[in-house]
Symmetry: C2
Subunit: 400 residues, 2 copies
């Protein structure tokens, strides 16, 4: 069996944890499996690098930031290879250049374009555990790139797909995917299985276990994922195409405080206005979430949408840059103290009234809804950030 | 003009020093020069990496050690690029893989085999300062390697040769090459010029300003070196093929405590014994220095030689491994508390009696000589390490 295992930064934060991961991997290796391990940078090392950089240049060139970031995972894989060697198991560390993990040139937010599996296969054939730097890639010009948030998960899934791995295990510090955040919702319970689509919605809505890009890729290439804890041996949650129905309408309740609302007020009511607005943002790699368009005063229209908090400043700057030319509007409002609360579940497709049930729970809890967005298997509302935990609990109690 | 500038770890140890180096480089850049900068890892970062590694594995695989080491210089060049950017000058950082700085696969002690200058030239043409990681390379299989001690100097000289640079400046924390170590010899004075051969002997004998591999390469490709301080603007010492005679017999007095003596006693007196002994050591990349062979008792012979202290254990182990087969001998003795003291100077070629003058100085100071080695432009003696400073002063006073 070929197994790809991914461990995050906290799992390799110090010597003890590095050896813990080493032993877990060696266990699978000694059963005769081929083992590929994807690692993130150690603990807070990335934060150290960021503060070093910002101290020198508050606005460092993105190419150089990626050049700096990529040393973090290289440190992790080299130290892990040493740990495995000391346990008597041959291992080899490879970074993005050595694997030939090709990406676009969008520094800080690059997309994988191809993986050369030859070197990895050769190393596996010589019975080595192969340790690969997560999060990073190289572009066509040999520049280092990084994949952005959750990038190491994406690396693991992409490797599992390219190598036709039998399993891709994503190790975290929780036992799997829960119906709600167990730190805030006492009744939250672990799911045994969840579909890609449900996981996708949970991921994109701040459930925080897996990044949506990695789930998208797993779905596209049909890579079976297992989300499990690096701290114990419980079974975890399997993410796959179809799961057996468990009689529940929804799989989970997620919240996300890393969100901000932008309202563009008084846009000219002409064709192409929305296209221009979101095209400008896309060109700056700004992901837009819930979008709401309404009729404004005097033949104008208003468009509101949410972005990640990190992108707020750049999004507003981008709009302001085009206000006098292609994006004539009255004003741009922003709101930062907002949060998204979502319910997700394949079950809701065949069960009308799920959204209404959620709204009822919020109404009963006295929470005002600012925006609503729905998909086939998801309902998301935007509320005041201060009510987040209360809202999640109210909704969770309503459904579970 | 194309200038290659190399700065060591102390020159980039913190933010202030990074900016100091950035400004020095920008000064040359703004005069219209093409500037290539070679950097070492920051201050004590390499030591941090070594202790991280040793904590995990006291005997880490050399390939993985190099994988770990190479992050140090990558950090330096990335941060330097950010510093230059903040000063409004475009810079690009390149590591060994991006330059395509090819080496042999001798991890920890690799030799450069070729440099691809295309990327560097392209970046220079677009008027960027090009920042290159010293000390590191990649082998044919894309593994990272390091060049061993003084590796960054070698990187700088090799780049200067490959790029046909007009000048190669090696920045250190002293003003140039001195007739003796100014910290220990009050009368030591800075040399304006020195030949490659003299510098070679000084470097290989522990004068510590330049590593011999870099000087050898400079001599072979006729790269004019300037050794100067990064802390002030004094002229430094020019290293080149021929210098004007200054009427002094010798250029400098050097000492080296990083040495140990090995005596192989009672070897069979047969042809090929010395060859076998030193061939075994060479295969383990152990550099041997002063060699002395003498007739032993009962038709045997003794061979003594010196190695760097770091290599002592491995050298002895290598000999022991072959004692029962190809290297029959009575015993292997070692001595660690020894030091080499040398005088170097092209002037001594045409002046007999220079060696005698040195021995006289040592005799007057009451210092016993354990071994002697001479070349055309150098006399080296091995003495007790405790007398090193005394010996250097005595010899320096005799000649200057």
């Amino acid at each position: 069996m070929l197994i790809v295992k991914k461990f995050g930064g906290t799992s390799v934060a110090d010597k003890e944890r590095i050896f813990n991961v080493a032993r877990r991997c060696i266990e699978d290796y000694k059963k005769g499996n081929d083992v590929v391990v994807v690692l993130s940078a150690m603990g807070k090392f990335t934060d150290v690098l960021v503060s070093q950089a910002k101290d020198i240049n508050p606005n460092p060139p993105k190419r150089e930031m990626d050049m700096l970031y990529t040393i973090g995972e290289q440190q992790s894989v080299a130290l892990m290879a040493m740990a495995m060697d000391s346990l008597g198991v041959p291992a080899v560390s490879l970074n993005a250049f050595q694997v030939k993990m090709y990406t676009t040139s969008a520094y800080g937010n690059a997309r994988l374009t191809g993986i050369d599996t030859e070197r990895i296969k050769n190393e596996l054939e010589s019975r080595k555990i192969v340790l690969i730097t997560g999060f990073q890639g190289v572009d066509k010009m040999d520049n280092y790139t990084t994949l952005g948030r959750g990038g190491s998960d994406t690396t693991a899934v992409a490797l599992a797909a390219a190598l036709h791995a039998d399993e891709c295990e994503i190790y975290t510090d929780v036992d799997g995917v829960f119906t709600a955040d167990p730190r805030h919702v006492p009744g939250a319970r672990k799911l045994d299985e969840i579909t890609y689509d449900e996981m996708l919605d949970l991921a994109s809505l701040g459930a925080g276990v897996l990044h949506n890009r990695s789930v998208e890729m797993a779905k596209r290439y049909n890579v079976q994922l297992v989300v499990r804890s690096s701290l114990n041996f419980s079974e975890g949650t399997v993410v796959k195409e179809a799961v057996k129905m468990e009689g529940t309408l929804i799989s989970g309740v997620a919240s996300d405080k890393n969100t901000a609302r932008i309202a563009v007020i008084g846009l000219e009511d002409q064709p192409g206005v929305a296209f221009k607005l979101f095209d400008h943002l896309a060109r700056h790699n700004i992901n837009v979430d819930i979008i709401l368009q309404s009729v404004g005063r005097g033949g104008t229209k208003d468009i509101s949408f949410t972005v990640a908090k990190d992108d707020l400043a750049e999004a507003v700057a981008t709009i302001e840059r085009h206000r006098e030319t292609s994006l004539r509007c009255e004003k741009v409002d922003t709101e930062e103290n907002v949060a998204k609360v979502s319910i997700v579940g394949a079950g809701m497709m065949s069960n009308p009234g799920v959204a209404a049930k959620m709204f009822e729970a919020l109404y009963d809890a006295g929470i005002n809804i600012k925006m609503i967005s729905t998909s086939e298997i998801r309902v998301t509302v935007l509320i005041d950030a201060q009510h987040t935990e209360k809202a999640v609990n109210a909704v969770h109690n309503k459904f579970f």
